[in-house]
Symmetry: C2
Subunit: 351 residues, 2 copies
Amino acid sequence: MPVTLKELAARAQVHPSTVSRVANNDPGLRIAATTRTRIEALLRETEYRPNGVARGLKLRQTLVLAVVIPDITNPFFAAMFRGIEDGATPRGYQVLLCNTDGIPERQRAHLHSLAARRVDGVILASTFLKDPAVRWLRHQRTPYVLVNRFSEDGVDPFVGSDDVMGATLATQHLIGLGHVRIGHLAGQPTVSTGVLRRKGYLSALAEAEILADPALIVESGFVEEGGAQAMDSLLSLNHPPTAVFAVTDMAAVGAYGAARKHGLHIPDDLAIVGYNDIPLAGRLIPGLSTVHVPIHEFGSVAARILLEQIETGVLTPRRVVFAPQLVVRGSSHAGADEQLVGRSAQRSPAE
Amino acid sequence: MPVTLKELAARAQVHPSTVSRVANNDPGLRIAATTRTRIEALLRETEYRPNGVARGLKLRQTLVLAVVIPDITNPFFAAMFRGIEDGATPRGYQVLLCNTDGIPERQRAHLHSLAARRVDGVILASTFLKDPAVRWLRHQRTPYVLVNRFSEDGVDPFVGSDDVMGATLATQHLIGLGHVRIGHLAGQPTVSTGVLRRKGYLSALAEAEILADPALIVESGFVEEGGAQAMDSLLSLNHPPTAVFAVTDMAAVGAYGAARKHGLHIPDDLAIVGYNDIPLAGRLIPGLSTVHVPIHEFGSVAARILLEQIETGVLTPRRVVFAPQLVVRGSSHAGADEQLVGRSAQRSPAE
DNA sequence: TTGCGGTGAACAAACGATTGCCCTATGTTA
DNA sequence: TAACATAGGGCAATCGTTTGTTCACCGCAA
């Protein structure tokens, strides 16, 4: 149905290549004013837009990026996606969204499809440690950026936050409130954020000379249901914790549910701190104290880095690591006021 | 970097077309067993995958769908998107996501890009009444499906719920609880859901012989901030309502905030009912009573209808309208228990 | 020997755009 | 008047597949 160059050329009594040059405003084009006008009128009249597929084949660029994440219904990834789109759309790119539910096989399948489609670049936020999929991307020479999680430290283009620091801030905050039995709803040890946030938690305890109790660390994964189960099991202990640091806000949301189920009051009976500062965190009652990271910026910066790689053609492992920031709300503090603690938001020297 | 047919053909000492036929398992292909084996080995060894762009050009299908919505950070659209992807991926399609923020110009720009890319179909959930963009889609003969909102009643392929019925159920419920001054946080009159839910609200009042007070209807739009402002202005009235029906759950969330700001207790001082039953609704405290619609199914059914259009080539305005269902939670009821009220979920006869 | 049928593959024309190069008038200069 | 520059476009290859058609060869029967 849409008009082609050939048809326009026939109607304008010129060769298709001439129409193409006019449409693309070819700088070195010498053409009679009258011919140009005739063609331009036709272009406007028919609302000609070159077939993107044909263009993609010839120019070897599709103007399509792909975003691979676990699950878009997780507010963290939704916000990140907006950042990406906001960075990509103004430059003419559109974005394919692929959900993996954290299943490696689905991630692999998506990436294979994406490669076959010749997307110009991939933003991957569902990677795990030593991810073969990332090695495959490298090997394919597909431009890509990892977000939030990395596969091998320092090797790939990456945008994220300093997870150890964030977790340390959160745990120190709980320690500062006088808590000694501090639990941790932990991420999987197969994911960088899981490992590093646990590490930050442990190092804060060690620094305060609190002996870490292995029984207080329960793997919850990153989503609500896991958080609820893990919290439930922590609360069933003989000596349950008086505070927990959850690896993500969604896990913390699950913890809210479990606490409620056990008839506990937050923060009096149980203090909770999460990670990410998703919009939902501020809407909970009491508000969820959490580690703020610039989610939208994760996306827009990742898009920027990716486009830079695409446009320059150099695939350098550029890394941007943000310093996270503690946000204290009602879940860990008697006062209802919201406070910002820690360093002000800034790029770390790593950039 | 990826291998092409021509390269494979050279390595296997055959013509590219032969490789293509082997790769595609051409049924009518007569070929020596030895040649076939040689080619197949090569295909596996190189992990050959045909260039999707070239294939798209030749076959005139891209295996790409596009989803156009206001904002993916709205949980409603995130859930819907999952439904769409879940319907599309198994059939080999991947999905472009386009956010418009409800701005017609952005919607238009996205649709134009999508058409140029030759996406196989579009799912549009950001349409407004008499939307020229929809007329344009029709005119282009692009397969498309409208979700949740329609542009002109009964004209386009559509998946959604019976908005009048849902709003009526919600309002009747509040009336049944004894409320007389019932406010409405209304959607824009430019959007079908806004118009129809207001209509359902009014008809329930009329049926109960309650005089509708225009002062109690405030346009909030569909998101949190608008809901908060609208609720705020309702609560500043001399005779504020004792209950409100919000056009969406997100608007209701805003109302929660405003009520809190005014020091009101939900549901005692103010009862609230929303619409959509997003996951967040059940997590609020108290739980938000709302009109349940099968959001994920909106997406998967829309994908199914769209693929049907694409594959059969017939663009019939197939419509699926779900009967919504009232879910009573703490925001409109003294008891904390969750209840389901109204007809059981089912497709309406319209299908 | 001629003809025929079947094998096993090659040929070539698309799909729609982009772009380096070539060609033909016309006017200009020596 | 011959050589040449320039303006104004046309030609054709190319991107990587798909697919209808053709072709060469071989064995076999008439």
